[in-house]
């Protein structure tokens, strides 16, 4: 089964990449000046206390040895302990990550459900006002970074014309739903709290839109050009000669082949959102991984830095893996292992 082989191969590569990332960030974090133990204990701690902490964390040993300790712990699913929160890094990340993931997933969904139809319409009505509007929108959104959108949207729709909340995942008077997945949207539904669900969704609108906008533009542009390219193919002329309905062509016979090149870029855009989420979260006071990440970097909290970066790298790789699987699902040439795809 070629799809399984592809999956295994990509999984193998992903593990190697993760190793590389861990090694790199491990060294970089330690080369940056500043003594993490001293920062953690504060200026009032005695030298003995600092030395004791350094010894406890193996910070007095060569980097290579430290890395081996790191690998040993990693084998047990342990990413070390934060010097700052004093909790296991995995626990910390597990409590911050869902907020970020929820934001990114909703943004990703927006990118797909808004970007792709916009591109399809644009291609179908090429050269008409619909197309011009969609392209103008696409160009404007693509060339403006997510955090600028965050500031603009917040200013316009939360401050000057307060339709949406200014910041946060929930207002202070609403208790978070019981934590099962950490995704408020899901947890509130599981707990049967439709009001919490609605309020969560309401709070998600601006930050996820800010995060998604350039992706929406990019997706619309790509879908458009890919659709236009596909519309020139002989098999579309054939579909028309045989009287296939124009709508069915747009939604099925042109769409599916056109999606193949788009999907790959979609995956990259989605991965980029993970990075952009950092700044958007700052603007909207979102207590996600960015808050944690910035704090641990400023405190030179070694294990937490390495752990956070590895989790983000892992998400990147996972996204790519999912995209690869999806592409091979819609592209029979890959699925059936008949040579490589020519898109």
């Amino acid at each position: 089964m070629p799809i399984l082989r592809l999956l295994l191969r990509r999984l193998g590569v992903s593990v190697l990449v993760l190793f590389g990332v861990s090694l790199l960030i491990f060294c970089v974090a330690r080369v940056v000046p500043g003594d993490p133990a001293r920062i953690a204990l504060g200026p009032n701690a005695t030298q003995e206390q600092v030395d004791a902490l350094r010894a406890e964390r193996h910070l007095d040993e060569p980097i290579a040895v430290q890395y081996l300790y790191f690998l040993r712990d990693l084998a047990h699913g342990d990413l070390g302990t934060s010097l700052y929160t004093k909790r296991p890094v995995t626990t910390d990340i597990a409590s911050y990550l869902p907020a970020t993931l929820e934001l990114v997933l909703v943004a990703g969904l927006m990118m797909i459900v808004l970007g792709i139809p916009l591109g399809i319409l644009s291609a179908r009505f090429k050269g008409r006002w619909m197309d011009h509007l969609a392209r103008l929108l696409a160009v404007t959104t693509v060339c403006t970074p997510a955090f600028v959108w965050a500031v603009i949207l917040q200013l316009l729709l939360a401050y000057l014309w307060p339709v949406f909340p200014l910041e946060g995942r929930l207002p202070t008077d609403v208790a978070p739903p019981p934590g099962i997945t950490g995704f408020y949207l899901i947890d509130s539904l599981l707990a049967g709290e439709p009001r919490t669900f609605a309020v969560t969704a309401y709070h998600l609108v601006l930050p996820s839109l800010a995060l998604a906008l350039s992706g929406i533009g990019q997706t619309a542009r790509l879908t458009r050009s890919s659709m236009i390219e596909t519309y020139r193919r002989p098999y579309i002329e054939m579909s028309r000669a045989y009287g296939f309905a124009e709508r069915r062509i747009a939604r099925r016979y042109a769409f599916r082949p056109a999606l193949i090149p788009t999907l790959t870029i979609l995956g990259l855009d989605f991965a980029a959102m993970l990075a952009n989420a950092f700044l958007v979260e700052r603007v909207f006071g979102w207590s996600g991984l960015s808050r944690y990440g910035v704090e641990v970097i400023l405190r030179k909290d070694l294990d937490a830095i390495v752990g956070t970066v590895m989790v983000i790298a892992g998400m990147f790789l996972l996204t790519n893996l999912i995209v690869d699987v999806l592409v091979s699902v819609i592209n029979p040439r890959i699925r059936l292992g008949e040579g490589r795809a020519k898109a």
Binding site: P234, A241, Y242, F244, P257, P332
Partner: protein, 297 residues
Amino acid sequence: MPDDIVLRIADLRLGFRRGRHIAEVLHGISLHVRRGEKVALVGESGSGKSVTARLALGRLQQEKGTIVSGAVEVAGIEATREPARIAAARGRLVSMIFQDPTSALNPVFRIGEVFEEVLRAGGQRLTRQAARERAAKALAEVHIPDPERCLDSYPFQLSGGMNQRVMIAMALANEPALLLADEPGTALDVTVQAQTLRLMDEMTERHGTAVLFISHNLSVVREFADRVYVIYRGHIVEHGRTAQIFAEPRHPYTRALMQAAPKLVAAGLPDLPETSPAFRDPLVVHEGCGEPGEVTA
């Protein structure tokens, strides 16, 4: 009997607007195809054969920058002035076979999926199962050895000749009155091309389908066509029954084409005859031929 005529083209002119300039491509051509008749349209590449077929499908009229005048009637439907009716007739009353079957079949759908859509577009209300059975029967009819497996295949898994058979089966699946065959199989090798022509002959004969057969190669149409129109740069230059044209080609351009023909078969590629002022000579119509409604010679 105009009812007898499935394709009637009269004084058809076509131009493409390029900025303020208009490039004329068809200069008032007339031709007709009767029910069950096989008619060839032959001319070198760029002479206006494919645009004629696309006009008959009513497709080219919808493109921006095309200027069309004259009549194109398919089974009584005026393709230029009745876009909705011709759209409904596509795949049902008139269908088409393409030059390169493999690129004319959608690469990300199985043959069976596309075939089902073809039947549906032909106005047949069938369950998925019934459509599949119909498709399998149609594939068996064009001598495809394992129709079920073929239906589950993607075009890139089949040979060009096999795809051509699939294409023929699809084209005839809804029993159209007229089949437009635009250089079928030119992209394939010579033996496969000959096979598909024989198959097309057999199939259209059996179904009583009229064919407008388009080719740049005069010798290819010899066995196939009842009548031949020779087209040169958007003008019909000679029209006659196949036997008449081959026995006595009268127009200088037809003679030049005929001399080039043996080379064409060997190389499989169009070899343009040297142009000559004599190619601009007026239309030659052989005895007993002529357009309906006209006084014949």
